[in-house]
């Protein structure tokens, strides 16, 4: 427990949230090199201007920093099964190993098992820097298990950052406890600030020994959420807000939610698309409530971006996910397997590995900044999307047919900006020829002008080209942003010379079904 005090700083220390937001904006746009990226950033302030403990909090957190998520991994431990509210997009009965969405786990752990699992994973994956408790219920509806887990992990692995994700109903009651355990980050899911809208999302909440329904339930929830958010930011604990975008229910309203949470000190807003397949058995799944399209989601995120930082790299992962965002290695770390594993927690080895990751990260940012030169005079009217197949480290290093998802970047005179990702089923399972799968991939990236891959077969290449998406192999194993900008400069030159006519592309589908784990 003494060791845990090293990482968090004093809990009574107040933090200037505006300064943090400024730094995070800087961080998102420019990476770790601070003021060197002026071409893509509004401010030249760097990490040196930030209180060191705050910089430490965000820089290696894959869920809070888009840039960090290429390099660092997180894990969730499923120690919190109980929940205190009911949401129309959640059905806890459905529990399938092939499914990836919040609220779902394959096995539940005791705090002792969870601590063991964290050590096992940290010993195997040295870039695992963050431990979160996100369910499968609500962590604060299981306070004893949640805080016991944090206590055990702080004792044995003091370098791992702790965070939790909550619906916020019980939050005001546990803010002091959260501060006491040096929990760095809290995510609150806030889908509305208007109880009339909330009544369409939440059938009931359970509070102080009573079940509340309808508008009364939603009013109680929103009041407790916003108060909890204020209490956390007053104590300098970083807060992210998650919102589920439900077309026709809260899509327009989320702009108002964005303003409400920003004014209360949230530093990052993550608007996620509703997941509502009928086979999930959720109320929304059964009533046919649709999720947003890629264009609708991006438009809302863009509309909120003027207000505050938007997170676009969320993978809506399971409450027991392990690994980089977009990958899930939880099957390697079942309770049975971790009990047999020889665990050697090598703090120094982890630090050395992470130092190498930092070098890689700095090199990536430097490459991007270098390539940005010469883009200043680019045609300001042309902005387009490209898809990238990557396994991480900020590199174009995934085979088209092996990609489980594509990352999407927006290219414009301002440079390359990460704007989202598209999940696709594994298209290639040993060979080419499955046209239905290829059609799925094309639908998922139909709004992109090009797709950057490490390698691609002849057949899908022809089909992509026919669909108007240029397959780009020439930047294999190079940095994503640098390559995308280089390609974009070339594209602009072709447009200028008349070799290519620039035309906008259509919408794309956000995948709703289950992620099929590779055999």
């Amino acid at each position: 427990m003494h060791a845990s005090t090293q990482q968090g700083g004093g809990t009574g220390h107040l933090v200037n949230i505006d300064a943090v937001m400024q730094q995070v904006a800087e961080h998102k746009g420019c990476g770790t090199t601070g003021g060197s990226g002026k071409a893509s950033c509004g401010s030249s302030a760097g990490q040196n201007d930030l209180p060191p403990e705050i910089w430490e909090k965000v820089k290696n957190h894959p869920c809070y920093s888009e840039e960090a998520h290429h390099h660092y991994a997180r894990m969730h431990v499923a120690v919190a099964p109980a929940c205190n509210i009911q949401c129309n997009y959640c059905n806890r009965k459905y529990d399938c190993a092939n499914e990836s969405r919040p609220g779902v786990v394959s096995e539940r752990l005791t705090p002792e098992q969870a601590a063991r699992k964290v050590l096992a994973v940290a010993s195997t994956i040295p870039q695992m820097t963050v431990l979160g408790i996100a369910g499968p219920g609500d962590p604060l509806a299981n306070p004893a298990k949640t805080f016991k887990t944090f206590e055990l992990i702080a004792q044995t692995a003091p370098d791992i950052k702790l965070c939790l994700s909550t619906n916020g109903l019980a939050l005001p009651d546990y803010v002091d406890e959260i501060a006491r355990y040096n929990i760095d980050h809290v995510t609150i899911t806030i889908n509305m600030v208007d109880p009339e809208i909330g009544a369409k999302i939440y059938p009931w909440v359970f509070w102080e020994h009573k079940r509340y329904t309808g508008v009364e339930a939603a009013r109680l929830l929103t009041e407790r959420q916003l108060r909890g958010l204020e209490m956390l930011t007053e104590r300098g604990i970083l807060c992210k807000v998650n919102s589920v975008m439900i077309p026709g229910v809260n899509d327009q309203h989320l702009v108002e939610v964005n303003r409400a949470v920003k004014s209360r000190g949230a530093f990052l807003h993550n608007i996620m698309p509703l997941i509502s397949a009928p086979e999930h058995g959720t109320v929304f799944g059964l009533t046919g409530q649709r999720g947003p399209t890629a264009q609708e989601l991006k438009a809302l995120q863009d509309a909120c971006e003027g207000e505050m930082n938007m997170m676009r790299h969320c993978r809506q992962c399971r409450a027991d996910a392990v690994g980089l965002l977009g990958e899930d290695r939880s099957a390697e770390f079942t309770t049975e397997k971790i009990m047999e594993m020889e665990v050697n927690y090598d703090l120094e080895g982890r630090k050395a590995y992470q130092a190498l990751v930092e070098e890689e990260r700095v090199a990536k940012v430097a490459a991007k900044v270098e390539e940005l030169a010469g883009l200043d005079g680019a045609d300001a009217d042309i902005s387009l999307l490209v898809a990238v197949a990557t396994k991480g480290s900020g590199l174009i290093n995934e085979h088209f047919g092996h990609a489980k998802e594509f990352q999407v970047y927006e290219l414009s005179a301002k440079g390359a900006k990460f704007v989202g990702h598209r999940r696709v089923d594994l298209y290639c399972q040993g060979g080419y020829g499955d046209e239905d799968s290829l059609a799925t991939v094309i639908r998922a990236i139909n709004d992109c002008h090009a797709v950057f891959v490490a390698k691609i077969g002849g057949c899908p290449k022809a089909d992509l080209t026919a669909a108007g998406i240029e397959p780009v192999e020439q930047y294999a194993h190079e940095f994503i942003e640098k390559s995308a900008i280089a390609w974009f400069k070339n594209y602009l030159a072709k447009v200028a010379s008349g070799a290519v006519t620039h035309a906008p592309r259509g919408d794309a589908a956000i995948r709703q079904g289950a992620l099929i784990v590779a055999a």
Binding site: K93, F206, H209, K210
Partner: protein, 74 residues
């Protein structure tokens, strides 16, 4: 009577266990069960049975007709 949990519907979320004022609920064979000898239907504690109010699956915590209604001591 006492309440009972319909095992086929129980998600084992454990929410009821912590809410029961009589500590009548425990895990058994992967789901949760109510000890009818301890259950007071929350009479004397709360206006509504807590397991019913917190359970995420409707009609899972139900009256067990095998037992007479609980009578509060006067």
């Amino acid at each position: 009577m006492a309440f009972k949990i319909v095992a086929s519907q129980c998600t084992s979320c454990s929410a009821c266990e912590a809410e029961c004022p009589n500590v009548a609920i425990s895990e058994k064979g992967g789901t949760f069960v109510i000890n009818p000898k301890k259950c007071t239907e929350c009479i004397g504690y709360f206006d509504v049975p807590q397991c019913v109010a917190v359970c995420p699956v409707d009609n899972t915590c139900v009256i067990d007709n095998a037992y007479p209604r609980y009578q509060a001591a006067r």
